[in-house]
């Protein structure tokens, strides 16, 4: 409970349904002050709904939402959206088309503070000094996002929520604009929640990542933890390419078609049948007598590296990431070895969803 003051947002057991279909099913989430948290989920996972519950556009059915220690919605009573002081940046920025850039950023301020000096100051924060008299239609995608952020930050909110701010942008501009926007948020030490469906985006920009699926938070933590120690095989696949091979755990290792694989000490299983998750970069191509024999099925060349799908005995196919120098064709014979520590999970039927159990 000593963490109360440092939590900018605390969501507890939040449930929300639309027309009898449950979109949020007991969501628990804590966002520490000063950090950027990515809320990662596929479309339909409920991430936008969660965001709208936090802003107050939707009422929750059960659970509670607190912002900076103050109760916002306890599922019976709620604070109106305009009284929550939560910054909100919708997908397209949603700049007011009838106002110029300067009037957009001071929209939320009291009338006497909507001066051009204030406008300039706010725009300077996001690197858009001198843009106050521009029309919103003349801005580029990244500029629009930055104006939207300046507008939200003008009120000094406890928390700023960004709803897929980069989803609508061209792939070529995306990284650049993302760095621009994230740079601004970091320089202002803002507490932010970034909603995204892009795992690469979540892992690369956020301090913490929360994965939402079917209305539940599956795992929450620093990006490295989520990638290296996912809570389940499905989750592992969702956060990047992953090989899942069946094996048998004996102490600190697992016996698999790939041979003996060292297991992560945190792997939550007892001895017996397990499923081992190995990232493509945790496998390598080696020369005899190391590794096990495998037949190349597919080879993809990416320039900076190459991905090769190989089959290791009785139909077990895995992907290996390796140096791009090796040119391989389907049918070639290679040798594969596990070079990292794998995560092991209780053996189960192959499921495509992310549920860890």
């Amino acid at each position: 409970m000593t963490t109360m003051s440092t939590m900018a947002l605390r969501v507890s057991g939040v449930t929300k349904s639309f027309n009898d279909s449950r979109v949020l099913d007991g969501v628990d989430l804590e966002v520490p002050a000063g950090m950027l948290t990515a809320l990662l989920g596929a479309s339909g996972s409920g991430k936008t709904t969660l965001l709208r519950c936090i802003t107050g556009f939707e009422r929750i059915e059960a659970g509670s939402i607190e912002i900076a220690g103050a109760m916002m919605d306890d599922s019976v009573r709620a604070t109106a959206p305009e009284q929550r002081h939560v910054g909100y940046v919708p997908q397209d920025g949603s700049l007011f088309p009838h106002l110029d850039v300067g009037r957009n950023v001071t929209f939320g301020l009291p009338r006497r503070q909507r001066r051009s000096a204030v406008q300039d100051e706010l725009l300077e924060q996001v690197g858009l000094a001198g843009f106050a008299r521009r029309r919103t239609g003349d801005l580029s995608g990244g500029q629009r996002q930055r104006v939207a952020i300046a507008r939200a930050l003008a009120l000094n909110p406890t928390l700023i929520l960004l709803d897929e701010p980069f989803a609508a942008l061209d792939a070529s501009l995306r990284t650049e604009i993302r760095d621009e926007v994230i740079g601004v948020l970091r320089s202002l030490r803002a507490t932010a929640v970034l909603v995204t469906h892009d795992q690469d985006e979540a892992l690369s920009v956020a301090d913490r990542v929360a994965v939402l699926d079917s209305g539940r938070i599956l795992q929450e933590g620093p990006p490295e933890t989520l990638y290296e120690r996912p809570a389940g095989p499905g989750l592992a696949r969702f956060l990047g390419e992953a090989n899942v091979v069946s094996g048998r755990r004996v102490g600190g290792i697992a016996l698999t078609p790939l041979g003996e694989v060292a297991l992560d000490p945190e792997a939550p299983t007892a001895d017996g049948p397990v499923q081992v998750v190995l990232r493509p970069e945790q496998l390598g191509l080696v020369e005899a007598p190391l590794g096990v024999e495998a037949i190349v099925r597919k080879h993809r060349y990416h320039g900076h590296d190459a991905m090769t799908h190989v089959e290791v005995g009785n139909g077990c196919e895995v992907v290996v990431r390796h140096e791009p120098t090796k040119r391989l064709d389907p049918g070639d014979t290679v040798r594969v070895v596990a070079i990292g520590r794998g995560m092991a999970f209780v053996a189960e039927r192959e499921t495509s969803d992310l549920t860890p159990e």
């Binding site: 507890s12 109760m71 604070t79 002081h85 007011f96 009838h98």
Partner: protein
Amino acid sequence: MTSTIDRVERNSQKEIRPLRRAPRRDAWTVGAWIVAIIVAAPLAFLGIEAFQAGWASLSGVLFRGITATLMANTIEMMVLVTAAAAFLGVGAAWILERTDVPARRALTVLLIVPAAIPDFIETFGWVNALPWLRGLFGAVVVLSLAVYPFVMLPAAAALRRIDHRHEEVARNLGASRISVVFRVTVPEIRGAIAGGCLLVALQLLAEYGSFQMLGFRTFTTEIYSAFQVGFDTQSACALSIVLVIMSALLVGGEATVARREGSLVTSEVTTPARMALGRWRWPALGILALLVTAALCVPVGSILSLLIDPEPATLPGGSLFGAVGYSLIYALAAAALATAGALTVALGSRRSRSWLTRTPVRVALIPLAVPGLVGALALSYVAARYAGGRWYQTSALLVVAYAVMFLPLALIGIRASLVQVPESLTEVAASLGSSRISQLVRVILPLILPGLAAGFALVFLSTMTELAATLVLVPTGVQTLATQFWTYQTNIAYGQAAPYALAMIVLAGPPLLLLTKMGESGGGSNR
């Protein structure tokens, strides 16, 4: 990582920042329902009256020989005029939008103008010029020329909007120019054509003045004389119900055509190439010039000639100035009231999409299918029956009647412009601390101003030129332009009627100008 907060702590939080029970129901939705009830009430009462009269007495009216004649007359006239208007409207739109006919801009404006002139004024001009023009033939000629702009406008807009590449593909597949027009272009804009034809047909069902002047008997002329001359409420009521049912069938039929329509709007609008007419340029110009002459020059010229060469006055002169004043005041008040009501309904349906928010919109659109005469009769009936006659023939009731009748016109425009204000904009405003009222004033209203202005202008125009409802509901002793004109016209004092006719045409100018401006800036939609 799950944090459970105990009860005590939660309660202490409540004290720090008291929560309030946020309204689950939008205040605008409540307003929308109130407006919808006001709109629907008179018709509901009309239905109740008919029901109370009983089937026996109703069928007595409905199965008289005259009813069958009226039905035949009305349908025959409606089909002929709508077909002629569709031919003229689509043809003119195609020439204007897809060929290099000279003087396109001027022709476009001149061809739209008849839309703003009341049909009964145009009929007046024609009857004055050619007194032998009567009956079905007269009705078809005069009204086709009066209503074709209502097909031309949506057809032209659709022609500008459709994806031109479809036509190019058809040409590439071996279709000739002419065959492309009939196999690709016209089918692609059939939704717009159907919408225009619906407007025309509804207008024809509701028209009273023109048919009265042309001596052509339809439901409206019969209802009016049953009510005003024979004081036969029961007949008027029974015939009104038939008329409303016919209108409702039309609206339903159009909805099914429109629903089957494919996607008209494309993301990439290509500039359609205009067909080079070559030596047909001047004949094409001639055709359009002939249409302008017949639809505009003949009726307006005929009225002007009455002014230049006045006959001796046979009736005591009314005050033109007073009539203009009353017409303006009524039209402005009705436009303000209808716009406010339509705005409430539109805002009420903006957020969630449940039956609770949709119903008021549907109800508020009903008057589109209710002829003005019937609406006025229903209101006067309600006033006489339930308000002890206190409100009957008062200015307040007249303005409410206008506002209810023309509310759909404002609603359509406002809803179209409200689409351009995504919910995310008002949500952002809320997240920035704006209250509901402040969101309306600072975000919504500035953005939908063009739609509001168009709606206001359209209601103003319609009110100014409404005849039948005004005749029923106008307060005793008050003369508007339409009623004073009608008084003179009925008594064949054409010379004295002419200034009032001209005043109506002139006053229609400013709102028409505003509407065409809105149309050009692409703000309004035709439906």
